[in-house]
């Protein structure tokens, strides 16, 4: 197992820049998830670690050794592809043993490693089959098996669950997590699915536009998003955001919306009076009542999920979503009032960066 250090990595195809200087340290045994929308550069970064893309500038070190100019085969990493990339003309067993056979490992060692991996993943009954005779979930397992057989320094996953249906994805997600616990292997996992990111990661790296937006533990990103992008990307349904102006009010402060509605903030923020800010609140922190205390709003749409209820609300042209575990939700078209828990509000400056409360202006 090994650590991975990434220093000021840049990638450009001609004049088209994909990564604009990425720095990241991945500790030995850590499970890091790169998450972001399509085209944010997360897969490119992963492929650069794997050696499948050339590094335009910057340094990648695996276990302290600079690997920029090493071929993929010399980096001692394993990768699980979205398409699984199983060799169609080889049996499951041959697929899994290919890397060891290339390394001319002893026959007994190969058999031991392959059988061990097959046992871990429940693949024993399929060892003689070709990949096309397997279901999607089984193929996915073979791809994982092929990666763990070799005991590489690090595992790279490129959206490995994207081709599976929802139920299987959930199942495999748990398996991957279990496997990581068992092997303790350094893992870098790329996904655009924030649930996968939240559930799997020790640390999440949120990326957008070829730049890292925030690095932190899943709950860190959820509770203290560094900017509006992370706030909107992590969490489903997404965080509600409103543009407002900042107003001091004694020890605390207020955010004044366009229509004059004021929202009380728990504490003062280091911003000038009247500055443009964006406030954000997660749907589960929107409290919906029908007793006339709060900001009046109209229910536009009710989405029962079984687990809870998502309410789409409108207040003076602003749309917000509220989530509650209650099933007894107001009906569509009903007039309600909403309140925001002041200590749950997120405040961002006019560039979208998070502002922490309490510091003097």
């Amino acid at each position: 197992m090994a650590s991975i250090h990434i220093e000021d990595i840049r990638k450009a195809y001609g004049d088209f820049h994909v990564l604009h200087g990425v720095d990241l340290d991945i500790a030995d045994g850590e499970f890091v998830v790169l998450v972001g929308p399509s085209g944010c550069g997360k897969s490119t970064l992963l492929r650069m670690i794997a050696g499948l893309e050339e590094v335009t500038s910057g340094t990648i070190r695996i276990d302290g050794r600079r690997v920029n100019d090493l071929d993929p085969k010399d980096r001692d990493i394993a990768m699980v592809f979205q398409s699984y990339a199983l060799y169609p003309h080889m049996s499951v067993k041959d697929n899994m043993s290919y890397s060891l056979r290339l390394r001319k490992a002893a026959k007994e060692k190969i058999a031991g490693a392959v059988n061990g991996a097959a046992g871990k993943l429940g693949l024993e009954p399929f060892m003689q089959r070709r990949p096309r005779a397997l279901s999607g979930g089984q193929r996915q397992r073979v791809a994982m098996g092929r990666a763990i057989v070799r005991q590489p320094k690090a595992f790279l996953f490129d959206e490995p669950l994207s081709n599976l249906d929802a139920r299987l994805r959930e199942h495999m997600r748990a398996e991957i997590k279990k496997l990581h616990k068992e092997l303790g292997a350094t893992s870098v996992y790329v996904t655009h699915d924030q649930i996968e990111a939240m559930t799997l990661a020790d640390r999440i790296v949120a990326m957008n536009g070829g730049v890292i937006q925030q690095v932190g533990s899943p709950l860190d990103l959820y509770d203290r998003p560094a900017n509006l992008f992370v706030a909107g990307f992590i969490g489903s349904p997404a965080m509600n955001v409103f543009e407002a102006r900042y107003r001091h009010a004694g020890d605390a402060a207020e955010a004044v919306l366009g229509d004059g509605t004021t929202i009380r903030l728990a504490r003062a923020y280091p911003v000038a009076e009247g500055a443009r800010i964006t406030i954000g609140i997660r749907p589960e922190h929107v409290i919906v009542g029908e007793n006339g205390r709060g900001i009046p709003a109209v229910v536009e749409l009710v989405e029962p999920t079984g687990f809870g209820t998502i309410l789409h609300l409108r207040l003076d042209g602003v749309h917000i979503k509220a989530f509650s575990l209650e099933r007894q939700a107001p009906a569509s078209g009903a007039a309600v009032d909403i309140r925001f828990a002041p200590d749950r509000l997120h405040v961002f400056d006019e560039n979208g960066a998070r502002i922490e409360a309490g510091k003097a202006p």
């Binding site: 794997a50 050696g51 499948l52 071929d71 993929p72 085969k73 980096r75 990493i77 394993a78 990768m79 592809f81 979205q82 398409s83 990339a85 199983l86 060799y87 169609p88 003309h89 290919y98 890397s99 290339l102 390394r103 096309r132 092929r146 070799r150």
Partner: protein, 277 residues
């Protein structure tokens, strides 16, 4: 409804039958003439099958004519051309499919350009070039010319087969510990067998039946290929149809055998890419 469907099926089969008859009739005629004794050829009029048959033409062609040598020459030239072209086209097709490199666009354009000239235009310059090199009247010269003319098309053919194989596969192999060439040889090439068979078959038949260059570059019987050799049955005063047709029938054998061998891959190959998976 059922009747209509039955009618349509019958019409469909009849259409196929008509096509097969039209396509195969010349071959049948070839066979028929090859077994017709000389004395019956003109005396019996037009008949579907002669009143008596003979293998005398075959035995003459095999024993007394130069045909075995033409045949051997053709096998060498066509086989050699097919193998060389397929190797070159596999490598070039892989490069075009997988790599981006400078002047790729122009190389492709140039390769296309070579396919646009009528071959007749090129006969004289090629003769001029090969002659001082001692490559006229030689099988090697013929192979070089055939390879040159077949490589571009075969490259495009192979490229389309490589395009159909996901890049992930060799990337996975390279991460597993293979060099790119090993990944190509162990992972990609086995998956391209249908394409290779199609290319081999295509080039082999093209070279097997090529007449123009064989006629222009080869004089005399020593290095003549089979299509040229066929003309030796045409003399100043007569055409020996029986022997010519017998030679023709014999010449069909290797092509048939070849396609029989590769047809399993060929059908896969020609339909590859039509259906995903």
């Amino acid at each position: 409804m059922r009747k209509k469907r039955l009618g349509l099926t019958i019409a469909h089969r009849l259409a196929i039958l008509a096509y097969i008859v039209v396509a195969l009739f010349p071959l049948f005629w070839l066979l028929k003439v090859s077994v017709t004794p000389n004395e019956l050829l003109y005396s019996e009029g037009v008949r579907l099958w002669p009143s008596s048959t003979t293998f005398q033409h075959f035995s003459f062609v095999l024993v007394h004519s130069d045909f075995p040598r033409f045949f051997k020459n053709s096998v060498i030239v066509s086989g050699g051309t097919a193998i060389i072209v397929t190797i070159l086209a596999s490598l070039a097709g892989y490069a075009l499919s997988r790599f981006t490199f400078r002047a790729k666009y122009w190389i492709v354009a140039l390769m296309l350009l070579t396919q646009m000239f009528p071959l007749v235009m090129l006969v004289a310059p090629i003769f001029k070039m090969l002659s001082p090199l001692g490559l006229t009247n030689s099988l090697t010269g013929l192979i070089i010319v055939y390879v040159a003319f077949n490589v571009p098309f075969a490259t495009f053919l192979m490229q389309s087969f490589f395009d159909g194989i996901p890049k992930d596969l060799e990337e996975a192999a390279m991460i597993d510990g293979a060099t790119r060439f090993m990944a190509f040889r162990q992972i990609i090439l086995p998956l391209t067998l249908p394409g290779i068979a199609a290319t081999l078959g295509f080039v082999f038949t093209a070279a097997w039946s090529e007449l123009l260059f064989a006629l222009m570059l080869i004089s005399g019987n020593q290095a003549a290929t089979f299509p040229v050799g066929l003309l030796s049955f045409v003399s100043k005063f007569s055409v020996d149809f029986g022997q010519m047709m017998a030679a023709g029938v014999l010449a069909l054998i290797p092509a048939c055998l070849f396609f029989l061998l590769i047809q399993r891959y060929l059908v896969q190959g020609l339909t590859a890419g039509a259906v995903k998976g």
